[in-house]
């Protein structure tokens, strides 16, 4: 593109006027244009000219014809015929595959109204189990072997995702850990995942890899037992 001095913008600020008019400048730029307009009659004239053309231009683009309805019908038909799905598989009313069952199970887990009920159920269940095992232990005969504590059968981790991450990506990440979602998302976006002991050996490596993906994960760490 050659530069033609007679047509070059008089001020760099003049090149921002279109976006000043449409209200899409960053605040610092908008203020800079405001300050410039206060002292530059040429740019005020240019802005007024732009403002006069803005609505006719929008109207010119708006009044153009519309594609025929058959285009949308063809797209929807193609989607249904191919049974394609972005990821994971689409929900269908008739017949659900294994992938769709898992999808539906995860969707129910992520539905906020189920989380409090699940949390309460887990708490009550664990409390009952604790009381029962405590009662069982007092009934056992004395032993010469002192228990050094029961090793945990599973490990729990907490994941906090970046806000822009879609559900599909979150599900894929949890699945990749071979974990089970036991809580979350909480109000601060925490997901608590339970990993079995067989998977826990490679867990540190997996957590380290997740922590490297700062565009996806804000926090990935083990929960203290």
């Amino acid at each position: 593109m050659t530069t033609r001095p007679d047509l070059a913008p008089a001020h760099p600020t003049a090149t921002l006027l279109p976006w000043y008019l449409t209200g899409t400048l960053k605040e610092s730029e908008r203020q800079a244009v405001d300050e410039h307009l206060a002292t530059c009659a040429d740019c005020r004239t240019e802005l007024a000219h732009l403002a006069r053309l803005h609505l006719p231009m929008k109207t010119a683009f708006l009044e153009e014809s519309t594609p025929e309805l058959r285009v949308q019908q063809q797209v929807m038909g193609r989607i249904q015929a191919e049974g394609t799905f972005a990821q994971p598989a689409p929900h269908t009313r008739t017949g659900e595959g294994v992938a769709e069952s898992v999808e539906q199970w995860f969707r129910r887990l992520f539905a906020p109204r189920w989380i409090p009920a699940l949390a309460v159920t887990l708490l009550v269940g664990q409390l009952t189990l604790l009381l029962w095992t405590a009662g069982e232990q007092t009934a056992l005969p004395p032993s010469n072997i002192a228990s050094r504590g029961i090793q945990p059968l599973s490990t729990r981790v907490v994941l906090v995702f970046q806000e822009s991450i879609p559900e599909a990506r979150i599900r894929a990440t949890i699945l990749a850990l071979n974990g089970r979602l036991v809580d979350g998302p909480s109000t601060d976006g925490r997901y608590t995942i339970e990993i079995s002991s067989t998977e826990a050996r490679s867990l540190d490596q997996q957590l380290h890899r997740l922590q490297q993906q700062s565009d996806v994960i804000r926090r990935a760490e083990r929960l203290a037992p």
């Binding site: 231009m57 949308q72 797209v75 193609r78 989607i79 799905f85 972005a86």
Partner: protein
């Protein structure tokens, strides 16, 4: 912003739902973008039926690729990016079937005028003249003016969409406005002569 435009937050939610296979969300997104995408494609492709075909390709690509959208740009930037890619592909496959793509240097200059005829005409006539003048511009200029004044995209998003530097966006818009003004002045001058 015009009623046909969606807000970016709402559109982001729609895309996320489309990624899970929500056909209702896809239908909403389709209706929000069908006409806009169609006319954006018509900037490059003159043939209406081919443009419709490309719209279908774009919307299908949107359906299949919704899970790949990272929300690092506006939804509109992403969708128009797909549309631009497919339209230019069609132009390459079918030869030059679009509007004129004359480089800026080839557009003849008009003698500068102290006072423009534009200022003195009525609103209705201004709308007609604007529409006619826009149709005379090159594809690049029509595209950039559409993205700025109709789609109301920030210049950063336009730079992302067109994969050009932000300063190039600003100067391109400046020259597009100049050319639009010249076309309008020329039309109004001809009318006054007649």
């Amino acid at each position: 912003m015009d009623a046909t435009h969606g807000h970016n937050a709402l559109e982001g939610t729609l895309v996320a739902r489309v990624a899970t296979g929500d056909t209702q969300a896809f239908d909403t997104l389709y209706r929000l973008y069908e006409k806009r995408v169609y006319h954006y494609i018509r900037t490059f492709v003159r043939d209406a039926s081919l443009a419709e075909e490309i719209v279908g390709e774009v919307m299908f690509a949107l359906w299949r690729g919704a899970c790949t959208f990272t929300h690092q740009s506006r939804v509109s930037t992403w969708i128009f990016g797909i549309a631009r890619h497919k339209a230019l592909d069609a132009v390459r496959r079918n030869g030059k079937i679009g509007q004129s793509t004359a480089p800026l240097e080839d557009v003849p200059d008009l003698p500068s005028q102290q006072e423009t005829p534009i200022e003195g005409i009525q609103r209705e006539q201004l709308g007609i003249v604007t529409r006619q003048a826009l149709s005379k511009l090159s594809a690049e200029h029509q595209e950039i003016l559409r993205l700025v004044f109709y789609e109301e995209l920030p210049y950063e998003e336009i730079a992302l969409l067109l994969t050009i530097p932000e300063n190039t966006v600003k100067t391109r818009v400046f020259y597009a406005k100049q050319q639009l003004k010249r076309q309008m002045d020329r039309m109004l001058s001809r009318e006054s002569v007649v």
